[in-house]
């Protein structure tokens, strides 16, 4: 028998209720103007990012918090949605120099971008603190560097017990977290397969959590391997079914990084006009993720899936 959701009182915990919706429904419902938005890097929630860019006239302004982003944040920054970026790192990775980020910081195009900077671990610890309902947390990173000098939010103090220096970072509690993961059931138990960076702490730090997944599976399948559950249902507001939902990036066991596409996108991002032309075609020119995938080509996407599975498939050593 299919799981029957029951009405449950509003509280901090999200109910074990049916949470599947479209990207459009989830973004419309949870992402409002001036939203403080958290985003993971592994894997990239591309289908949710694209939907926010489609709705940029409604959303207008976001303050974005990341740890390290490789590539995908430039889609948001280039759209003119991002007013502030709290980060440890923002660049193109193997795709190279992030010209979108550079334009925003150096020239204020398409809008000025305020940057609040941490080390990668320092940035990640902020979600860890929030996940434990602490207001701050300490790390031995950042000490002696200009990261501390230029970010007044980082406080170097003497540990109250040992007296040794520690750099304190403030908790980060995003209004909304957008996450991409391998699979989830319809009440929002999310399982990551493979390395998942800071996905777990971001989900626990944010007030609302939207997760796009490659596959929707049954709760019985979740219960079969509960130690794979990275995010239990009570943190999660919405599950969006987005196969290939991290393209042009990768999803472990599902498909490989589409490097030729990413390199070509980054070539186009060299100018703001190039960004707009790409976004007009691939984001505004498609009504949802399925149409985007059709435009890229399911044949191509399936070849990326086969390529990944030649080297690794869940539960199999190749």
């Amino acid at each position: 028998m299919r799981f029957q959701p029951i009405p449950i009182q509003e509280g901090i915990a999200k109910p074990p209720a049916y949470k599947i919706m479209t990207a459009k429904e989830a973004i419309t419902k949870f992402v409002q103007e001036d939203c403080y938005l958290g985003m993971t890097v592994s894997a990239a929630p591309a289908s949710l990012i694209w939907e926010m860019v489609r709705q940029r006239d409604r959303i207008k302004t976001l303050d974005l918090v990341i740890t390290s982003q490789i590539g995908m944040s430039s889609v948001l920054i280039g759209s003119g949605l991002v007013r502030k970026l709290e980060m440890g790192y923002n660049w193109g990775g193997i795709e190279g120099e992030d010209k979108v980020f550079r334009r925003a910081v150096e020239k204020g195009i398409p809008r000025p971008l305020e940057v609040e900077e941490y080390s990668n671990y320092g940035a990640a610890m902020r979600w860890l603190a929030a996940s434990m309902n602490l207001d701050s947390i300490g790390t031995k990173s950042q000490l002696g560097s200009d990261i501390v000098k230029y970010n007044p939010k980082i406080k170097v103090i003497d540990d109250p017990y040992t007296g040794s220096p520690v750099s304190m970072v403030p908790a980060s509690r995003p209004d909304v977290a957008i996450i991409h993961a391998a699979r989830a059931d319809e009440i929002g138990n999310v399982q990551c397969l493979g390395l998942y960076g800071n996905t777990d702490t971001l989900a626990r730090a944010a007030k609302h959590v939207i997760v796009s997944v490659e596959e929707i599976i049954t709760s019985a399948e979740i219960r079969r391997m509960p130690n794979l559950t990275t995010i239990p249902y009570y943190y999660v507001d919405a599950i969006v079914h987005s196969p290939f939902g991290a393209h042009w990036r990768e999803s472990t066991y599902y498909y490989h990084h589409d490097l030729p596409y990413g390199l070509d996108v980054y070539r186009q991002f060299a100018t703001q006009e190039g960004y707009e032309a790409w976004a007009d075609k691939y984001v505004h020119g498609t009504k949802d993720w399925n149409e985007y995938c059709q435009l890229v080509g399911y044949d191509r996407l399936n070849r990326l899936r086969l390529s990944e599975n030649k080297y690794q498939k869940f539960g199999e050593v190749r």
Binding site: V41, G96, N120, T139, D146, H257, L263, R303
Partner: protein, 290 residues
Amino acid sequence: MSNYTKDYSMPELMAVTVAREIRDGELAFIGVGMPLMAATVAKFTHAPNFNMMVEYGAVGPAPLRLQMCVNCAVNNERAYFAGSQREVMGAQQSGFVDVACISGAQIDKYGNLNSTCIGDYHHPKVRLAGSGGANDLASSASRTVIMMRQDGRNFVNQVDYLTSPGHLGGPGERAKAGLVGGGPAAVVTTMGVYRFDDETREMYLEKIHPGVDLEKLKAAVQWDLAISPDLVLTELPTEEQVMVMRTLDPLAVYLGTGRQTLSGDFEAFMKMFEDSYQPMVQLMRSKGMM
């Protein structure tokens, strides 16, 4: 017994030189790119028991294909551990990481690195990526190996922004700041190999690459560079070391022009995976790794 080769590129020489800084049995924190090539060379030649740790939560991957990024699915392939970044970052802050390979756009004589901006922080001439894990590794790894291009302008008296701490202002300063790691042990550039004096903590030239002119090298350093009285030429790559790099990265994505080749060319990309699978399997089997 080593068969040295003269058929190598400068990036390959740098990767091999960094590989020689890694000892067998060590745990190394490796970023993707040239450090990854160095790690792969080490693993397949002199350090089979060395394992790498990758920033987004993988330990000991042994993939048969090229890793694309620190958060890439390939880091999961045949790994000992895959999970959270907290695991690998916590381990490195606790001192489990023997050696980490980092980079920067500018460096000073104490090995302090800048990867944040050129010019004033608030009005940068060039905005760069930011710290990422570089500051964390520079803070806590037992030792770091720095790998960077030396372009004549980036060995500076003072970095525009101190992203990743080297020996800060000299002897004792790391401990005073509360840093737990040992700091930089070596700097490998396009011109030579540098180390740090035990007493002054200042950088000195230990080796010079074949074909590099010493006067030009000195001119590419803003401060009065100390030079080892035992200055030697950098050891050449061996045939085997070069073979390992070219097997894993046949299009020279990391050590050449592969990215230009692949931009927009999906078929070339698919072919790269097809072509490198069997040679990688053979290489792994010949080393008893699978």
